[in-house]
Amino acid sequence: MKNDTITTNGFRLGNLFQAQYGLIWVALLMVAVFAVSSDVFRTAGNLLEILRQSGILAIMVIGLTWIVATGEIDVSFADIAAFTGIVTAVLLKAGFSWGITFIVAALLGTVFGVISGFLVVYFKFPALIATLAVSGIAKSLASLMGKGAVIHITKAEGLVYQLVYGNVFGMPLLFIVTLSIYLICRYLQDRTTAGQHLYALGDNRQATQEAGIKEGKILMSLFILSALLASIGGILLTATVSSGNPKIGASYFLDGLTVVFLGAMIIKAGQPNVIGTLIGVIILSTLGNGLTLLGEYFFVGNIVKGLLLVFGVVVVTFTRYKKRIGGQYSIA
């Protein structure tokens, strides 16, 4: 892989006009259009709200980003989040404190990651099938706990309230936490051996096996990590909306995959990376927020998201052709 953008840290202004930054320009254009056409959109309060809303989805999809980077896929994260959301609601209703609830729900959600990892690593399931099955189980169990209905809880208090609603120096605390997590992950991804192994796995599975990289161990930990982060996302979601909804997975499922694939088109041109994902999440939140403020139907958002995805793939595919790397473009 001679793609210099993977390892170099050098940042040149000229790079901004390369194809891999195309989506950022589209995003800026989108913000400009929204800002001109909506008074409410351009207020500072609304822009900060967008950042706050991005936080939960952003936490949910870090694990997914890395799983896709290794050439596998995880479609269970959204339903795991729905499951932990319900568990959180049930436990809180039963009178447990937020601390215990948080730990129990996160652990229960992580079990699903262990199952997916086990199926993929030991039984050689295709990742799509394993995680599809696991997501079916998580979704059903979530519905089972609330008999298919939404469980309402009282508003979060104390530390959790501060986390989802609080501000620090005028910035939403949730976004600051998310940003710090992403910066740590950026370091792990680009500056550690494990991070390089991720991309090696995605690039050439055979070569990594022959180089003695422990493929199973990496995949297993990634599925567990993905489930854990999805669980935390689900718990925070329940805290934000004060209810647990077994069907919430459906809306996060496609959004999550979209941000990861959109993010893959930014910065590393074809490879999922955490910073790209974060930008993708912010783009998607901005889109949803702006379209709502303009009074558009929500399905317009779906069409625009789809167009963005296809546009992104086209750009990446054709830059690759130009670079004569050729072949199928390398994610998933």
Partner: protein, 346 residues
């Protein structure tokens, strides 16, 4: 004659025997637990329910054989169902006449629904086959666009108009010689697909493209048309299934086929777990297997939201059982279409 690699008849028969045994055991258990299970009425209902997931899975089989994934078909189906509902409402023919018990405008409405479904498949197919774009991302994008545009017909509300009078519900209700039409349709399409994929040169090229694309290209197989055709068939059959669901529900619903993803993949991969590769017969038995499970548990008053659990658990058990080395001679083979194979293909 004793070529181990080739699909010999006895291997197929052995796999079918395994499936028949599995399904027979389940049927016996269910009929012991629930009296109503083994009645003609229930079996008819079972097959009618199966026909929808089976048709979706049949389309998906074509894509999986090629080693690709399609994540758009269930959203494309929603678009097709809405198109048919809309055309059915609009009554596009000026002087409609009756054909049997249905109005003449229903037929173009249904055909148009399947055609627009195929058009979405064509877009995915060209993107994946000709432009070599990544299958998963492209199909998710295309699916998103299809699902979003499906809302344009009615802004997301149900379409009731003309449903009870135009005779569109006959697609689901009609009987052909005492056999419900969906079942006839399913069996017919499975027979055609079996002849195409297992008994023709066209089908062998499909398998060649799927198992080793480079070798297929050097053997003179033009792989791109096969990929495009597979995606078109997948979307087309899903559209048909979605239209059948719509006609069964008696209302144009924008989420007609939104739950098709899981049963379709489950049917195909349960088939693969027994047949070791994606086949028409395997998919058929996979769909039958999941439908029998669902039907049995539904009769035992299982809440509807547990159906995914049943399908998921049967899928996991089927694949795990197939991975256990019963003979301890056979080497473990990765399932075709698994991530590792795709990773090698460039």
């Amino acid at each position: 004659m004793t070529d181990k690699k080739g699909p010999s008849i006895s291997d197929t028969l052995k796999s079918i025997a395994i499936f028949v045994m599995m399904i027979a055991v389940i049927i016996i258990i269910f009929s012991l637990v629930e009296d109503k299970f083994l009645t003609a009425r229930n079996l008819k209902m079972l097959l009618r329910h199966m026909s929808i997931s089976a048709l979706t899975a049949l389309g998906l089989t074509y894509v999986i054989i090629l080693g690709h994934y399609d994540m758009s078909f269930y959203m494309v189906g929603c678009f097709a169902a809405m198109t048919t509902s809309y055309l059915n409402k609009m009554d596009i023919m000026m002087d409609s006449f009756m054909i049997g018990s249905i109005h003449s405008f229903v037929i173009p409405a249904v055909l148009a629904g399947i055609a627009v479904g195929c058009a979405w498949g064509l877009i995915s197919g060209i993107a994946v086959g000709f432009l070599k774009m990544n299958d998963m991302v492209t199909t998710i994008g295309v699916g998103f666009i299809a699902f979003g545009t499906a809302y344009l017909y009615s802004k997301g509300s149900f379409i009731y108009d003309n449903f009870l009078t135009s005779g569109i519900t006959e697609i689901n209700n009609a009987d052909w010689f005492y056999v419900p039409f969906p079942i006839v349709l399913m069996l017919g399409l499975y027979l055609i697909s079996y002849l195409i994929l297992s008994r023709s040169k066209f089908g062998r090229n499909f398998y060649a493209t799927g198992s080793n694309r480079i070798a297929a290209i050097f053997s003179g197989v033009r792989v791109v048309p096969y990929i495009i055709v597979a995606f078109v068939i997948c979307s087309g059959l899903t559209s048909l299934a979605a239209i059948m669901t719509t006609s069964a529900q008696g209302v144009g619903n924008v989420k007609a086929s939104i739950n098709f993803l899981m049963p379709a993949y489950a049917a195909v991969y349960i088939g693969i777990s027994v047949f070791k590769k994606a086949t028409v017969i395997g998919t058929f038995f996979g769909a039958l297997f999941t439908s029998v499970m669902l039907n049995g548990f539904t009769l035992m008053a299982m809440p509807f939201y547990l159906s995914d659990l049943i399908i998921a658990v049967s899928l996991i058990i089927a694949i795990i059982l197939s991975k256990i080395d019963w003979t301890s001679i056979q080497k473990k083979n990765p399932i075709p279409g698994s991530g590792s194979e795709i990773a090698y293909e460039k």
